[in-house]
């Protein structure tokens, strides 16, 4: 009933009680994940182009490890964390109950189907809908984890379509350093090593800017944040 005091609702309505427990659990699991990430990586944010303030943004980052968005999420101040949603692959995050809980409840991931043949929803539409609710997004424009010697794989076109659909949103390049050594693809035990997350100057799409030129510019902006050791041949 509208206007009912929340403590009354909590006492009279069993659903609300379990909802409180659920949201406490979500918060607790989130804090535990962040604490674990800090224990293993002592992660440090380098704000080198934007301030840690709750503006709406699309963070686009290099992708070398499954822990990438966890690290970005960990260094965001709590007010920003609660409004920031990673864009992640449904085929990974819907496979088990635990992953489902963490992916959907804790991180509130925007889950997209990577297979164009089976999907029922267009990923860009999903991302735009999330932006229109006021959320910020974490996006990995390489599309898959980079296990090659190259610093960065060529970007997929998703970032371009998103930028075209919502040209006013800040696109912030984010370089994650060293996490590929902590948790390389295929390993199950992380090795504790210090990681950094560098945030750069936002990129915007120019009017009528061609796709290739924009993606090239975004890649350059991201690579510019990489420490020398990450880009050495």
């Amino acid at each position: 009933m509208p206007g009912t005091l929340s403590w009354q609702a909590g006492r009279n309505d069993k659903k609300t009680g379990s909802a409180v427990i659920h949201s406490l659990l979500v918060w607790l699991v989130g804090e535990c994940i962040a604490l674990f990430a800090r224990l293993i990586t002592a992660v440090r944010a380098i704000w080198d182009g934007i301030e840690p303030v709750p503006h709406q943004r699309v963070y686009f980052a290099n992708h070398t490890s499954n822990g990438d968005f966890v690290l970005i999420w960990t260094v965001l101040p709590p007010a920003m964390r609660s409004r920031t949603r990673p864009v992640a692959a449904a085929d990974y995050w819907l496979t088990s109950g635990l992953r489902k809980f963490i992916g959907q409840a804790v991180f509130r991931a925007v889950l997209i189907d990577r297979n164009p043949e089976t999907r029922t929803m267009d990923p860009i539409t999903q991302m735009v809908e999330a932006l229109d609710t006021g959320a910020s997004l974490i996006l990995f424009p390489e599309g898959t984890r980079n296990t090659t010697q190259a610093s960065l794989l060529p970007f997929k076109s998703g970032l371009f379509h998103l930028a075209t659909a919502r040209p006013d949103v800040d696109l912030v390049p984010v370089w994650i350093s060293n996490l590929n050594h902590v948790m390389p693809k295929g390993e199950t035990v992380p090795v504790p090593l210090i990681c950094t997350v560098g945030f750069g100057v936002p990129v915007h799409i120019e009017p009528d800017e061609p796709k290739e030129a924009f993606l090239e510019r975004a890649q350059t902006a991201l690579l510019a944040l990489a420490p020398a050791k990450d880009t050495a041949p």
Binding site: A42, P184, E187, V189, P190, P192, L193, I194
Partner: protein, 315 residues
Amino acid sequence: MTPHAEFLALMAGVLAILIVASIAGAILHRRFNADGMNATIENLNARIVAWWAMVGLLGLALLAGRIGVLILFAVLSFAALREFLTLTEKRRGDHWALAAGFFVILPVQYILIGMDWYGLYSIFIPVYGFLFLPILAVLRGDTDAFLNRVAETQWGLMICVFAASHVPALLTLRIEGYEGKSILLIAFLVFTVQFSDVMQYIWGKLCGRRKIAPGLSPSKTWEGFIGGTLTASLAGAGLWWLTPFTPLQAFLMALVVTQLGFFGGLVMSAIKRDKGVKDWGHLIAGHGGFIDRLDSVVFSAPIFFHLTRYFWSAV
């Protein structure tokens, strides 16, 4: 366990030093750094604040006794090893060896010390770690820079785990007429070495002219080195009542550990230079990383342990 009167006296002295330092830092800040632009004073005050935290932590651990000291140094080893291995050469093929270093070698070393098993903890890393970690690495089949990789990993374990663990190992020494007091040996070692670092900094800032190793560390001067280690050695002599040593013996022991501490700092600076970093980490404001603060203790602890064991201990 009730704390020893000697320990409380030492803590009172350290607190007095910290209070004087904090007041001096506040006065310097008001007179010369009202705009917050003087980097040296900003750094000095950050260091003093961090000292309060470090003294508080070590004091609590020493009060908690054997378990407290073991846990504190195991955690410090973990943090130091994390900093060290961040900078070493490594590839995918080292993953098992590195994980074993953190999650097997490190805890086992501290458990062995907790069990008082001298015969094993004094060779566990130099023998078993030395032979088995390269085997774990070679199983993955990557031979690129293999010798560099296994050597750097082993060096990290020796410094950050083996050497550091000799601080709590002091608790296993049995010295006639000094039963149940070996925790004071830790207080003596850590105080003397850290006091030497602080006095080197102060002497260097006040009258440091001639650089010892300009290519290595621009802040280390002959004046700082001699003034700092001598002052700290005299302070060590003055703390003989904490130890099983006579005042002269306490002076000589303090001289040994402060010299080792100084050269340990130089060695660790050389590694930082080699790897192209200024500090080992960023977690201790004003000081840098854990290794930046621990390097001198790590280099002096094993020698202090063995000298004390050889000349004073019954086992």
